[in-house]
Symmetry: D2
Subunit: 284 residues, 4 copies
């Protein structure tokens, strides 16, 4: 599967002939589909699909595909994205002091589980600088306080531009991004250390302990202007008992946070996630 | 294990010698402990324990045990309950129109998974009357509307008294019990069709669908005056995807509700649950 | 979604243009696809797909569809099945003495979770006859011993024919069907009370206990001539501990068996399962 | 909880008064029990317990405890171990070429989730030497082939002695230890990449793929002379589908292997695991 492929992610109002139209566009140009999946949300009247085909042997060149498909998509009022598998996405990781998600993502990156470049780590502390150096990644220390957030976010955005970043991953970044940041750079995945919508906001493990829950969770979601309210990509849970202290919940939660965030990042990078409204379709 | 046993559930301020004191009380009277488990909540400074021993061969008669133990418990400021395994607890099931939890509990009762008598089913509708009849259980139809709740709860309480009920199980009872009811009859287990504290209140599956969660849950808890806020006994979850409609969530949720409620009822009836504050210790 | 639909399940050697060809067949005849999913097994060189579309407005009548599609399928060496959603499949349940899977399936049937007719229950004992009567289903007692299996299976097959049965569900049927039976009636789903391939054969819970496993499971699979070796449709697991006796494993296992079997039957009846080799594709 | 504690792990024939006897030994010497848990295996007629108390204020010195307890244990035919929480156990990690379990354990060690010293890594390859160096751990390359296993195991045992190793963790060590090795050094934990007893032996993911299972697992167990047959400490599972290739199973399996092995090692190091026969009691 190492030959380059093209992936289309499409959402459009449901109507007859959509599968045929899209398949004909690809087959008519000699494309070989290797993955196609679709979902119809009947309530929303929406058709959502992901189609992936091999670039080799396709009649249209890479440059021609977007405009050729745009002609087909327009009458259908389709919203779409196109991705080429040999265009390596570029990630920036935002962290604070906790290293578990950062290290986990970097190991998976090294183990080639995460197909991306990671040229930049941004942190509001210096604690994790040594890890960045060990992996040969640029580390930008941008401290945030009550008074400087707007200027510092401007610096962050400048760096994202400079490093041509496609996706920001908040790998335990203990700051809230302003709506303005999200408007300018909307491609952000966060890991929240609870089973959302339970325990949104601060100190979820302490509150889970106080509530006496028997199961804890973690949630990876796209970041929107509403804190902890963005579209959920992935969640997972772990059983706990009365024997678990807050410290135990935190420790067990770390294992959840790592795998849930890594799965979400991997799904996003493989163009498996389609957002519509505040929901995601995950084409696994 | 069918010989009668005595079970003590004790909570008291943590102090040296508690295990020895309680064990000596039993061993000193020739008791054979078959299960003992304890938990210390260091934050709360509380020692919580469950001890079960065989009645046969014990030096104290059934009648003497409570007063004998009270003498030991008092200086320790212990709160305690005593249960004899051959005293069969009596259950009342409260239902509305949905039958899945009711049928599930009755089947487990018939299969002897639930060790109790079930002499009474109370419902605010008549729909499930035939099931009560099929299992030979008295069915009381007590309709509830805006204006009659207080009188009707009085009738319910009267029936609980008349049938000498020990535990009420809300097996999809779509009415909120008043704080007054709970004050008079505090032994009530409810099944809530969400992973509390997420989606407390009405229509949790609709709200879970709208939020786009990837996992749904169910929660069995003791009922307190605060709606959906009582001590949690058991929770479980099930994975869902974008392909699941609200109807699918409801269907999948039913399977969760059944097993979570049944487990909670069984744990309670086997005297495995100790409530302290708003938390439970489950001695499994 | 209650209007009749047509579902095609197709497997054929992978080649260019398959999605387009199948979609064009439907769209060219004015069909409205409501579900389409495909999977390519690159190792096996196989393309597998499920397509469902609305019969209303389709240009071809019900009778014409098979031959029309056969003309398309032939050059592609496709193996295919066609199903109409308003043709209600007919089930026979085979049981012995345990009632939990039987009752569970019958309740789901009553609750319309299982979209089928269930005209026949066959058992090698009489213990569950009353349940059949309660649900108004014909109960055939066909005892099996060492010497009469072949004749008795002939009687079973005769009944399946007489009742026009489409699917046999072994809902804790404690007899092994002969390869001859399977040859004559290959559509059989079994529930095995272990996480196959662990503990194939008899007494899996006893053996799980002896092995000291920390998790038990259940497996629903199609029955083939090789005992417990058929294609797996669904599996699930449950955590156990040293505190669980064999009786506890059996009790916990029952809950697994019920849901795993019910899910498998439901997937089959909704034509979501495609078998190839000894594997299944489950189009969920 | 950072003050030193004493932990007793005891198994003995079940008899009256065991809880009282052990509790009195501790309380009689002014010990403050902070954790006590017991289990009776009625079938085996065995009583198994774990008791932990604070050393501060205990009347017996560290040196006196074993002989004092031996006098109590002897008439009860008890088998027992004693552990002091401030005696840091020493681990050796055996690895081959895969780094995921090694890195995971070392990260947890650095994060103080694993309370031990790790002075030694032994490998039959040199590939992971750089990781050992990065963490400042001695790396011994001891290659194994058909002809040299006995001599090389002698070298390994020599190193274990020299480094005063208490526990060997096979963190993806792709060699089978001889029964002779186990006889001389019986404290060995292995991670097997399947849900044992399913897929014991080589290439479990390939065989899981061929069998078409819907769930994969991992198992951490003590190593005995019988390959993959030792007492199970911990297992966990992960759902897979027809879309998962062997490579996907291997990738998903890595996440299981890491957490299952880490949990088992942590349980062992906290003296939570008691082996009897081929089973474990896990006092969580």
């Amino acid at each position: 599967m190492n030959k380059p492929t093209v992936t289309l992610l499409i959402s459009c109002p449901d109507q007859k002939g959509l599968v045929a139209t899209f398949a004909n566009f690809i087959y008519g140009n000699e494309g070989n589909i290797i993955h196609a999946d679709q979902h119809t949300d009947f309530e929303a009247g929406l058709f959502l699909t992901r189609i992936e085909w091999q670039l080799d042997g396709f009649n249209l060149t890479r440059d021609m595909i977007p405009s050729a498909f745009a002609a087909i998509a327009k009458p259908m009022q389709a919203v779409w994205q196109i991705h080429f598998s040999d265009t390596i996405p570029r990630l920036a990781l935002f962290v604070t002091k906790q290293d578990h998600c950062l290290l986990d993502l970097l190991w998976r990156w090294q183990a080639k589980e995460i197909h991306a470049d990671i040229p930049l780590i941004i942190s509001n502390h210096t604690k994790l600088q040594a890890i960045a150096e060990q992996f040969g990644i640029e580390f930008a220390h941008i401290n945030i306080d009550k008074n400087n957030k707007i200027q510092q976010e401007a610096r962050q955005l400048e760096l994202l531009k400079q490093y041509r970043i496609d996706l920001v991953v908040l790998a335990k970044y203990m700051q809230i991004l302003t709506p303005e940041f999200i408007t300018q750079f909307p491609n952000v995945i966060n890991i929240h250390h609870s089973f959302l919508p339970a325990f949104a906001g601060a100190k979820p493990y302490h509150r889970a302990y106080e509530r006496g829950v028997k199961i804890i969770g973690a949630t990876a979601h796209y970041v929107t202007a509403d804190l902890d309210q963005g579209p959920i990509i992935e969640q997972d849970v772990s059983r706990v008992s009365h024997r678990d202290t807050v410290a135990d919940l935190i420790r067990k939660g770390k294992d959840l946070e790592k795998v849930v965030l890594a799965r979400a990042v991997r799904l996003h990078l493989r163009n498996r996630v389609l957002v519509y409204g505040n929901r995601t379709v995950v084409f696994e």
